[in-house]
Each structure stands twice: as structure tokens, then as C-alpha cells.
């Protein structure tokens, strides 16, 4: 018989609320964003060859769109941007103030542990390497997704106000490229979410409950 693991307090309510709010808001942002994309399904200035895009010239079908038409998509996108940015800011402030960023931020010293973890996933190593709250690959993934969130927001403002915020637009290589990066952020979010959800169910299903109730009863109870 399995020994019942002692429950540990894992996620503060701010983290849980931010996680689920973000999931809903991001879904709305992506769906309204695809609606906006449909108005001009290319990247790059007029009169030049368009930038590489597997969906070039392909509008997205209604089931994945929000807003119904361009104006509707814009209104959803610009309204949802507020709670999305606020949720992100509250989460980042919490990470810094609580010191929890320490167990989340991927640093150069995590590279060897990330390698061991990769070997385990590739079945080249039998035992799961010891880990704290997050293993090194998780740290890499979560650090990356926070950075991606920041970049998605910044590229968004760069194409929202390319004249008033021209310095920001220039930082991303100009309006057309900023719009291009903004679009690619979508697919990185989607890819992350697929892997994230798969790993939750395949490796550590107890983490789903922890993200809902805050209590973790799984196989990685240490909390560094």
C-alpha cells in the first residue's frame, strides 16, 4: 500500500488566482487576436515579399475566433489586455515580494541539473533526479513563459501605438516585425500549454490539485 504523503502548502492564493485568470484571459486574447489577424493574413509591408508564415493568406475559422468581425476582435483584444496586464503585474510583484522567484528563476547553475532531468525524460537515466519545488527544466520552462508573457505584452503595445511608442516599436525591428513576433508568441504559448498540461497529467497529477486548492500531496513534496 502506498503511504499517504503529507500535504504541503504549495501555491499562495495569489499565484492560483493569477494562474487561472491568466489561462482564461490568454484564451480570449488569442481568439480575438486570430480574429484581428484575419483582416490581413500576411506579415511585412505592402509591395514586398511577405515574411515566412505557415498560415500566410489563411484566415482562421470561426471556432477559434472571438469578436465576429475586425472591430469586435479589436474591442475584445483591447479590453482583455487590461486585466491580462494587471494579472501579470500582480503575479510578478508577488514573486518578487515573497522571494518565490528564487525557486522559479532558471540560472546558469541550473544547467547541469537540467541536463540530468533531460536524460531522465529521454529514458537514459532511471531515477528521477532529486528536486525541490520545481526541477531545473521546469525552472527553464516557467522562466521562459514569464519572459514570453512580457514580450507578448511589449510587442502588443509596439503595434498598438507605433508612433507614440516609436522607441518600443523600433526595439522590435519596426511595426511589421513587432506584429510578426506578436503572432509567433501565440504559437509559443500554445506549444507551452500543450506540453505543460501533458506533463501535469503524465508526471505529476497532484500538481493540478495543488494549483486549485493550494495543497500538494504528490511525489515531490520538498519546497526549496
Amino acid at each position: 500500500m502506498d503511504q499517504k504523503p503529507t500535504p504541503v502548502r504549495r501555491h499562495h492564493w495569489i499565484v492560483r488566482a493569477a494562474h487561472w485568470l491568466n489561462a482564461v484571459l490568454l484564451l480570449g486574447m488569442i481568439a480575438s487576436g486570430l480574429q484581428i489577424y484575419n483582416a490581413f493574413a500576411h506579415f511585412g509591408p505592402r509591395g514586398r515579399p511577405y515574411l515566412p508564415n505557415p498560415w500566410d493568406g489563411d484566415p482562421f475559422p470561426a471556432p477559434v475566433r472571438l469578436g465576429g468581425w475586425l472591430a469586435g476582435g479589436l474591442n475584445w483584444h483591447f479590453a482583455l489586455a487590461w486585466p491580462l496586464v494587471l494579472t501579470g503585474l500582480v503575479y510578478l510583484i508577488y514573486l518578487l515580494a515573497s522571494g518565490e522567484w528564487r525557486s522559479l528563476l532558471f540560472r546558469p547553475r541550473d544547467v547541469p541539473a537540467a541536463w540530468r532531468m533531460q536524460l531522465y525524460y529521454l529514458r537514459l537515466r532511471r531515477e528521477h533526479p532529486p528536486q525541490g519545488k520545481h526541477n531545473a527544466l521546469q525552472k527553464a520552462a516557467y522562466s521562459f513563459i514569464i519572459l514570453l508573457g512580457v514580450l507578448a505584452v511589449l510587442t502588443g503595445y509596439a503595434i498598438y501605438k507605433p508612433v507614440q511608442l516609436s522607441w518600443l516599436t523600433a526595439l522590435f525591428g519596426g511595426y511589421e516585425l513587432a506584429r510578426y513576433w506578436h503572432f509567433w508568441a501565440v504559437w509559443l504559448f500554445v506549444a507551452f500549454t500543450v506540453v505543460h498540461v501533458l506533463l501535469v497529467f503524465l508526471v505529476d497529477p497532484a500538481s493540478l490539485r495543488a494549483m486549485i486548492t493550494g495543497w500538494y500531496r504528490g511525489r515531490f513534496p520538498s519546497h526549496d
Binding site: W13, R16, W20, L21, A23, V24, L27, G28, A31, Q35, I36, Y37, A39, F40, H42, P45, R46, G47, A62, P63, V64, R65, L66, G67, G68, W69, L70, A71, G72, L74, N75, W76, F78, A79, Y160, K161, P162, V163, Q164, L165, S166, Y175, E176, R179, I212, T213, G214, W215
Partner: protein, 236 residues
């Protein structure tokens, strides 16, 4: 405590579920759509605060121009709207002004002009570079002398019922002009001949073509697309 938060999160799950369901229908927003449009005014307010009359849109070289044929042109009228009597055309400047004006094309072309090569941003997401020549709207303002009550400008056209409402700050921007030439040639019927509004600080749908009148108002005028749900400010 745990039960309560579980119930709350269950509700959150329901919300997420209904959001995905709503998404799954290409939903406009139903009862939320008017609220979204009202909320769009909050973004307009922020956009007006962010706007600076002194911040100029970058200029480009002639070599960077988009070829004429690749620079899209739109009108509400099928084909392009044309005047029956082009010679009789004049721009009416009125509303809350001390000096109402009737300006012919010759009078406008005799005024101090600016020429710039700038990037055009369409709300759809495309961009194109072109050269525009015209009179700054601020010059017309100086002649008409709007009264203290004037807070907005309404631009009317002879293209179906197309019109736009503008905030005075954007209208006074040095790059906001009444244009009569595009890429060194007189404006053609596709570009808004004989006179159109142009500015690199707003999206294309704010740039009224085929101008007939410029009216100063106290109330905020809507606009053709704006009244259907597009952001009113359209500032970039």
C-alpha cells in the same frame, strides 16, 4: 476554507468553460458587445493622454515608397466617387468658428504646404509608405479661429455618408494635413481627389477622403466606421 476556495475555483472553471464555448462560436459578445464598445472609450482616453502634439512620425526616403499599385485604396462608393462639377468644388469650414470659410482648391494650394514621406497604418494590419503634400490643418484653424467651445472637428465627404470625428489635439499635429498630392502627383480619384485628410498619427479609417466640409463642434462627432464599433480615437 479549502472547500470555499474549491467552490470558487469550480466557478472559475465554469467561467473558463463558457469563455471557450463562447469562443467556439466566433462570438461577437452578445450583451457584452455594447459594454466592450463603451470600454473602448477608456482606451481612447488613455490614447489621448499618451498622444503628444510634438512627437513626429518618422519620415522615409522616396526610395522606400510602396509602389503605387501595391498601396491599397478604399471608398464606400462603388468604383470611386467623382464630382459632377469638379470646378464648383470648395471646402466649407464652419461650425464654432469666428470666420467661416469657403476655400477653393486654388486658395488651398496657395497656402503654406508641407510634403512628407511617411508610413500608412491600416487598422487591418498592413502598412505602406507614400509621399503626401498639403496644408497643415493648423493653418486652416488659424484662419477660421475656432471659438472656446469648439472641442472637436468633423470631416465630411462626398463618398456616400463617410465622415470622421477628430479630437482637436490630433488635428493640430504638425503632420495632420489637407492633402492634394500623392507621390508628387495631384490626388487621383482613388486617393480622395480633390482633397483629403491625411496624418501619420492615426489609422487609415480616420483619414477622410473626398472632403467637402470641416466643422468645429462642441459635441464629439462619431464617424462612419466608428459608429459601427471601431475605436473612435484611432490614434497610433
Amino acid at each position: 476554507m479549502t472547500d470555499l476556495s474549491r467552490r470558487d475555483l469550480f466557478r472559475l472553471g465554469l467561467l473558463a468553460g463558457s469563455a471557450s464555448l463562447a469562443t467556439a462560436c466566433g462570438w461577437q459578445g452578445g450583451p457584452l458587445a455594447p459594454k466592450l464598445r463603451a470600454f473602448s472609450r477608456v482606451n481612447d482616453w488613455v490614447g489621448e493622454r499618451l498622444f503628444s502634439k510634438n512627437r513626429l512620425a518618422p519620415e522615409y526616403s522616396i526610395a522606400q515608397r510602396t509602389p503605387d499599385r501595391q498601396f491599397p485604396a478604399y471608398a464606400r462608393t462603388r468604383g470611386y466617387p467623382r464630382l459632377a462639377e469638379p470646378a464648383g468644388w470648395a471646402l466649407q469650414v464652419g461650425g464654432l468658428v469666428r470666420n467661416p470659410l469657403r476655400l477653393t482648391l486654388e486658395m488651398i494650394q496657395a497656402m503654406p504646404s508641407v510634403t512628407y514621406t511617411v508610413k500608412h497604418h491600416c487598422v487591418e494590419g498592413w502598412t505602406a509608405i507614400g509621399t503626401w503634400t498639403g496644408v497643415p490643418v493648423s493653418v486652416i484653424l488659424g484662419l477660421a479661429e475656432p471659438t472656446a467651445e469648439a472641442g472637436y472637428l468633423r470631416f465630411d465627404s462626398f463618398d456616400a455618408r463617410y465622415f470622421n470625428g477628430w479630437d482637436l489635439k490630433s488635428a493640430m499635429h504638425p503632420q495632420t494635413i489637407l492633402a492634394y498630392a500623392f507621390n508628387d502627383r495631384p490626388l487621383g480619384p482613388a486617393r480622395g481627389a480633390p482633397l483629403r485628410l491625411y496624418s501619420p498619427v492615426k489609422l487609415g479609417y480616420k483619414l477622410t477622403k473626398y472632403l467637402t466640409a470641416m466643422t468645429f463642434t462642441a459635441e464629439r462627432p462619431g464617424g462612419y466606421w466608428e459608429d459601427m464599433g471601431y475605436p473612435w480615437l484611432g490614434g497610433i
